[in-house]
Symmetry: C2
Subunit: 351 residues, 2 copies
C-alpha cells in the first residue's frame, strides 16, 4: 500500500522519448487495423498493406515527440490525448510524403520503393494517369482523412492550430513544386519556413501546448524556438541530401541533385556560381541523366561557390537563436532538457 | 406584434431548394475568402483563385440539398448547421473532382478547362510530375482540409458518418482507377455503389438526418431509398456520358469513351459483344485517337449488344425500389415531396 503512495521513480527524458515513440507506433498500428478497406478487392488490400507498412515501419516520429514535449512543457500529464494527437500528425505526414514522392518523381523513400512505384502496373490507357500515381494519391488522401479522424473532437484551439498547419504546409509545398521558375533563395527560404519550420516544429509543439492548456506566452516561446530550429533542421537535411552517406540517409546521394530540388543550398550556388561552374549547374541540376561523376562535379561547385559554408553558418545562427529562447523560457525542466536534446539531434544529426 | 406570432407563410419545396442552394453558395464564397493563401506568391494566388471559381461557380449542390432534406425529413429546423455541413460536403467533393480529373486525364469539367490543365506550365524537369498536376493535387487536398474545418465540431454521429463516407468514396475511386484490369460488370457495380450511391446520396441524407437527431429507423430508410436512387443516378450519368448532348453535359460526348471509363454500360457491352463488334470496343475504347466517326461506331455496338437497354432497365428497377421506400417511410411530408422531386431530377434529368 505504502508503495502506491510514494512518488513514482523519475523517468529520464530518453526513456520518455522511447516510451512515446512506442505508444505512437502501437496506436498507429491499432488504428489502421481498425480501418480495413470497406470493399474486398485484392488491389485495394495491397494498397492498405503498403500504407500500413509505410506508416508503421518508417519515420523518426519527430512531430509526435515535439507534440508530446510541447504538452509536457506546459505541465501536461494527459499522455493518451498527446499520443493520439501525435499519431494524427504522423498520419497526416505520411499522406504528405506519399504525395511529395509522386511530385518529385522519387523512386526510394527510407530505403524502400515509394508507394507509387510499388503500385505501378502496366497500363493500356495512355491518356489516364498511371495506376500507381492514382493509387498513391488516394492512399495519401486516405491517410490525411484518418489523421483528421484520429485527432477527433479535440478542443477548438487544437483544431485551429491543426487547420492552420495544413494550410501552411500545403502553401509551402505549392511554392516548392514551382520548378518551372528556377531556383530562388527567397522562395527556398519561404518553403523551409512553411514546409518544415512551421509544419514540423512550431505547430506540433503548439498543438501539444494547446492540449495542455499552455498560456499564450509559452505558445509564443514555442514559435521563437521552433521556427529557427525547424529551419536549421531543413538546412541540415538539404546538406545531407547532397553530401550525406546513402547508407544512413536511406536514399542515393545523387537523388536530390537529379530531382533538381530547389533548396537554399542549391539556390545559393546558382546565385554565386559563374562561368563554367554555372553552366555545369544549369546543365546537370535536375537532369535525369546525372551520373555519379557529374554529381561529384556539382558538389565541387557547391563547395567552391561557398554555398555550403554559407548554409552551415545559417544553421549555426538559427541554432543559437533557438537555444537562447529555450534556455530562458518558462517551461517544465524535463521538457527543456528533452527539447534541447532533440534540437541537437535535428540540426547536427548524423543521419 | 401579432404578425410575429402568426405562423410564417409556408415555403414551397422548390423555394426551399433555391434558398438552400443560395445559402450554400454564399457560405462557400465567404469561407474561401476568409482563407487566403498564407504566403504572398503569384502562382499560389492564381491557384486559390481557380479553386474558388471551381467551388463557387460550379455544381448542382446535390449533396448539400440531400443533406438539407435529410435533416428536414427528421424534423430538423437548424438550417445554419445543415447548410454548413452541406457546404463541407461540397468542398470535399470539389477536392475529389479535382483529383478525379487528374486521374482520368480530363481536359474539361463543366465546360471549362480542368484545374490541372489551367495550371499547366512548361517544365524543365522531366523526372518530376508536371506542375499543373502537383498544384491540382495540392488544391484538392486543401479543399478536403477545408471541408473538414467547415464541418467543425459536429457531433460524434455526424463525424462518424463523414469519416465512413470518406473511406467509402476513396475505396470506390481506388477500384475505378484499376483500368489495367479491363472492364468488369461486378467491379463497375461496386464502384457506383461506393463512389456514387453511398457517397452522393445515402451518406449526405444520413448526415443531415444525424444533424437533426433522426432515429435509427429513419437513417435505415435513407439507405433503402438512397442506395438504389444513387445507383440509378450514376447509371443515367453513364448513359449521358456516351449518348448525351454536349451542350447540356458541358463536356464533349466522346470524352468518356476516349478516356476508357469502365462504366456498367461499357462493361456490359464488352461482356455481350462478339466478333468485329468486340474488336471495335477493344481497339477504340480508351484510345486517345478516338474520333467522332469511331465514337459513333462504338455507340452502335453499345446499342446492338443490348447494353443500353439493360442499363435502362436497371435504372427503372432501382427507381421503383427507391420510390417504394420513400412513399412508405416515416418522414416529414415536405421532405418526402422534395426527395421525390430530386429523385426524378437525378435519374431522368435532361442534363
Amino acid at each position: 500500500m505504502a508503495a502506491e503512495l510514494a512518488d513514482p521513480p523519475e523517468e529520464s527524458v530518453t526513456a520518455a522519448i522511447d516510451r512515446v515513440r512506442s505508444s505512437v507506433d502501437a496506436l498507429l498500428a491499432a488504428f489502421i487495423d481498425a480501418h480495413p478497406a470497406p470493399v474486398a478487392d485484392p488491389e485495394l488490400a495491397e494498397g492498405h498493406r503498403l500504407l500500413k507498412e509505410f506508416v508503421v515501419k518508417g519515420g523518426k516520429r519527430i512531430r509526435p515527440l515535439l507534440c508530446y514535449w510541447g504538452a509536457r512543457g506546459a505541465g501536461g500529464t494527459d499522455d493518451a490525448a498527446t499520443v493520439a494527437a501525435g499519431a494524427a500528425l504522423e498520419l497526416y505526414h505520411a499522406g504528405l510524403l506519399i504525395h511529395d514522392d509522386i511530385m518529385d518523381g522519387s523512386e526510394l523513400r527510407r530505403g524502400r520503393p515509394t508507394l507509387h512505384r510499388s503500385l505501378a502496373r502496366p497500363t493500356k490507357h495512355p491518356v489516364a494517369e498511371p495506376f500507381g500515381h492514382c493509387a498513391a494519391v488516394l492512399l495519401g488522401v486516405l491517410a490525411q482523412a484518418w489523421a483528421d479522424e484520429l485527432l477527433g473532437a479535440a478542443d477548438p484551439a487544437v483544431r485551429a492550430l491543426f487547420n492552420q498547419m495544413r494550410g501552411e504546409v500545403i502553401a509551402g509545398q505549392y511554392l516548392d513544386v514551382q520548378t518551372h521558375l528556377g531556383p530562388s533563395v527567397d522562395r527556398a527560404l519561404t518553403v523551409i519556413r512553411f514546409k518544415t519550420a512551421k509544419y514540423t516544429v512550431e505547430r506540433p509543439l503548439q498543438i501539444g501546448g494547446a492540449l495542455a492548456g499552455a498560456p499564450g506566452a509559452l505558445l509564443e516561446s514555442y514559435s521563437r524556438f521552433g521556427l529557427p530550429m525547424g529551419e536549421a533542421f531543413q538546412l541540415r537535411d538539404d546538406i545531407l541530401g547532397v553530401f550525406g552517406d546513402p547508407g544512413i540517409t536511406g536514399k542515393p546521394v545523387t537523388d536530390d541533385l537529379r530531382e533538381g530540388k530547389a533548396t537554399v543550398l542549391i539556390a545559393l550556388a546558382f546565385a554565386e556560381a559563374t562561368g563554367s561552374a554555372l553552366h555545369l549547374l544549369r546543365t546537370w541540376h535536375g537532369n535525369p541523366d546525372l551520373d555519379d561523376a557529374r554529381a561529384a562535379d556539382l558538389r565541387q561547385v557547391i563547395v567552391e561557390s561557398r554555398a555550403l559554408t554559407r548554409v552551415e553558418s545559417m544553421i549555426d545562427g538559427r541554432v543559437r537563436t533557438g537555444l537562447e529562447e529555450l534556455r530562458t523560457c518558462a517551461i517544465d525542466e524535463d521538457a527543456r532538457q528533452a527539447l534541447t536534446l532533440m534540437a541537437g539531434q535535428l540540426t547536427h544529426r548524423l543521419a
